[in-house]
């Protein structure tokens, strides 16, 4: 969904596990859809952690705990490792998350989030640990994610950190543009490149 991004202030959903792979974010059996229905993928986000094997809700999983809600998912390091499936980003967006905070993201998944107008915010391990701590103490605490200024603030402690994003992608997110929009404008450069490139 091309949703313009600016400043988001929200409560958080904590997932303090490390190495959360995209098979957990959306299991393979849900990849058979041939359309991009974010609601379908969102409904099956973390499917096998959210539901018990008999189909009942797993009350111990954070998405089923009414204490926590919000547009910001906070996860342990190495989030989104494994499969390149963009369905994982569709599921995160479809569920209603607009920001994922972690101390480390897997490369392909990070790109997939950006291409779906979900902002991956990389913070230091210290900031992340303190954020988990703040959420534990007060599940209603909020974070402020300010894309124009590239800062994230833990509003419970007032601590703030800068995060990285390249200027081009920031422009895309803030203006609801995607890479294809851009690439279609530079086809002449591609044709020129092809004239001198090694031919395969």
């Amino acid at each position: 969904m091309k949703q313009k991004f600016d400043i988001i202030t929200s409560t958080c959903v904590p997932l303090p596990l490390e190495n959360v792979d995209t098979d957990q974010i959306i299991p393979a059996r849900f990849l058979k859809a041939t359309t991009r229905e974010e609601k379908f993928f969102g409904d099956n986000l973390f499917r096998d952690w959210r539901y018990n094997s008999d189909g009942s809700l797993n009350k111990n999983f954070v998405l089923n705990d009414p204490t926590y809600s919000g547009e910001v998912l906070v996860a342990g390091k190495n989030f989104g490792s494994g499969s390149s499936r963009e369905h994982a980003a569709w599921a995160i967006a479809g569920y209603g998350f607009r920001v994922v905070v972690s101390s480390f993201f897997a490369d392909i998944h990070k790109n997939n989030e950006l291409n779906n107008f979900v902002l991956p915010v990389v913070v230091s391990e210290g900031f992340l640990a303190e954020l988990f701590d703040s959420i534990k103490k007060d599940p209603k605490m909020q974070v402020k994610v300010d894309l124009p200024n590239q800062t994230i603030t833990n509003l419970a402690t007032g601590k703030s950190e800068k995060f990285d994003i390249n200027g081009y992608k920031k422009h895309c997110l803030m203006n609801g543009l995607d890479d294809i929009d851009y690439l279609l404008t530079v086809k002449d450069k591609t044709e020129k490149y092809e004239e001198k490139a090694v031919k395969y």
Binding site: E18, N78, G82, S83, E86, I108, N112, K189
Partner: protein
């Protein structure tokens, strides 16, 4: 600087976006049925045609059943996805190797064996194991569906240039140790995020000594260390492997290509952002004990105790072992095995079947009772080689059957699913929770270790049977 990665990447730069990524030209796009339908939809919504359709090759592999491929797929949802690829390829004028086409198979097995993946190329696919093609000396990496659409629309992709890493494995591998064990060893040393942000060049005498099949296995698993891709500089072995393959250049074009490919190596003065060295002699047959591929150890070792895990990782570690039904500190040898899976883009090539059959033969044993074994060639060409070499007959005599090509039990998108709670020794690439089916427990290993489990019914050191 002056690494082979720089040479290939830099020669594909079309432009650099101001304060942004690189516009990189792509020589080959592979599409399978799972990660492409939404890209085709996007193309239709924008009213676009593929910019360079001749550079795009499509084939179904994830949903393909490994039996009765001549009949319609029974699962209607799988059938719909496979049919969608066929229709989309026809509509957009793309090359398509459908089910039962003699060129069909797992996309990462077919690309190299048909000579579609060549040295010096940039290769992408909506699949993280695209790194496999790096074995021929190409820069190959997995991408998301939006990026697949980018390449369809423009033959380019916008990407930040990754950092470069060289991993040298020197020395001689011991008996019973394979390319798969090198990869599992590297992951156990680096973790699943140790190479995130990097493109890896594998080098050193133990890597150069690998066959092409071994190199494909090693590069296949680059993503499991977090690397965007991994590759090996092309050499005589590469050229020998590619010569005469259907889509490889022929005649004068071949000579010209080889002359260029010979220049594809890192300079003596090359500087990598990171360089790591390992000794082949330190590696023994490897098995995984947890729920990510970095959680592996030598087959004679014990599962690490909880004290070895840092504070932030303890919860994940215990969750993982709890899922596997293993305890910290215990041995894996002797654990009862329910399923054995030989195949996938990791180990579904002829050499893997030779290794499996060889161990079965040397052990003098037949398939153990109580073990279900799925032996799945990576492509119809591999299937043909198996039959030409008589491996099918040998294996059948020992109680095994060869199935039809496809991704099979690697990811539970077709009929081959490991039932909940069952333990599978698999030559595939991921042991994530539920990867081989909801509740399935996966131990990743080499074809030799898989064969040892298949004939004994328990996790067994393959060296004791060779």
């Amino acid at each position: 600087m002056n690494t082979l990665f720089d040479k290939i990447w830099d020669s594909h730069v079309v432009s650099i976006v101001e304060d942004g990524p690189t516009q990189l030209y792509i020589d080959r796009l592979y599409c399978h049925e799972v990660t492409s339908p939404q890209a085709f939809d996007g193309m239709r919504a924008r009213g676009l045609k593929c910019f360079r359709p001749e550079k795009i090759f499509c084939m179904p592999d994830h949903n393909t059943p490994t039996h009765d491929q001549d009949k319609p797929i029974e699962d209607p949802v799988s059938k719909k996805q496979v049919d969608a690829l066929s229709k989309n390829a026809a509509e957009f004028g793309l090359n398509h190797f459908g089910m039962m086409n003699e060129k069909n198979g797992i996309i990462h097995v077919v690309g190299p064996e048909r000579g579609l993946s060549l040295p010096g190329m940039t290769i992408v696919c909506g699949d993280s194991h695209t790194s496999t093609h790096g074995a021929v000396g190409a820069v190959a990496f997995g991408i998301g569906t939006s990026e697949v659409e980018m390449v369809m629309a423009s033959q380019c992709i916008l990407q930040q240039k990754p950092k470069s890493m060289r991993i040298n494995v020197n020395g001689t591998l011991k008996k019973g140790v394979t390319a798969k064990d090198i990869a599992l060893y590297l992951m156990s040393q680096l973790s699943t995020s140790g190479a995130t942000g990097y493109f890896v060049e594998y080098s050193g005498s133990a890597v150069k000594d690998l066959t092409m099949e071994g190199r494909l296995t090693l590069c296949n698993l680059s993503i499991e260390m977090g690397a965007r891709g991994g590759f090996i500089a092309p050499d005589e072995k590469t050229f020998e492997y590619l010569k005469g393959r259907e889509y490889a250049p022929k005649g004068e074009a071949w000579d010209k290509a080889v002359a260029y490919w010979k220049t594809l190596k890192s300079g003596d003065d090359a500087v990598f952002d990171k360089e790591l060295n390992f000794k082949a002699e330190d590696i023994e047959p490897m098995v995984t004990y947890g729920t990510n591929p970095g959680m592996g150890c030598g087959i004679s070792q014990n599962i690490p105790s909880i004290d070895t895990v840092d504070e932030a990782g303890k919860e994940s570690y215990l969750k993982s072992l709890n899922y596997m039904g293993f305890k910290p500190g215990e041995k894996l040898l002797g654990k009862k095995v329910d399923y054995v899976f030989l195949g996938a883009c990791t180990n579904g090539r002829i050499e893997d079947f030779r290794a499996f059959a060889d161990l079965v033969k040397k052990s003098g044993k037949k398939k153990a009772e109580g073990v279900t074994a799925w032996l799945v060639p990576g492509s119809w060409l591999v299937d043909k080689q198996i039959r030409e070499e008589g491996l099918d007959k040998e294996l059948e005599a020992a109680g095994f059957a060869i199935r039809q090509p496809g991704c099979s039990a690697c990811l539970a998108m077709n009929d081959d699913k490991i039932p909940a709670g069952k333990l599978s020794v698999s030559t595939s690439n991921r042991n994530f929770e539920g990867r081989q089916g909801p509740g399935a427990r996966t131990v990743l290993a080499s074809p030799l270790t898989a064969a040892a489990a298949a004939v004994t019914g328990v996790i067994t050191d393959p060296r004791t049977l060779l």
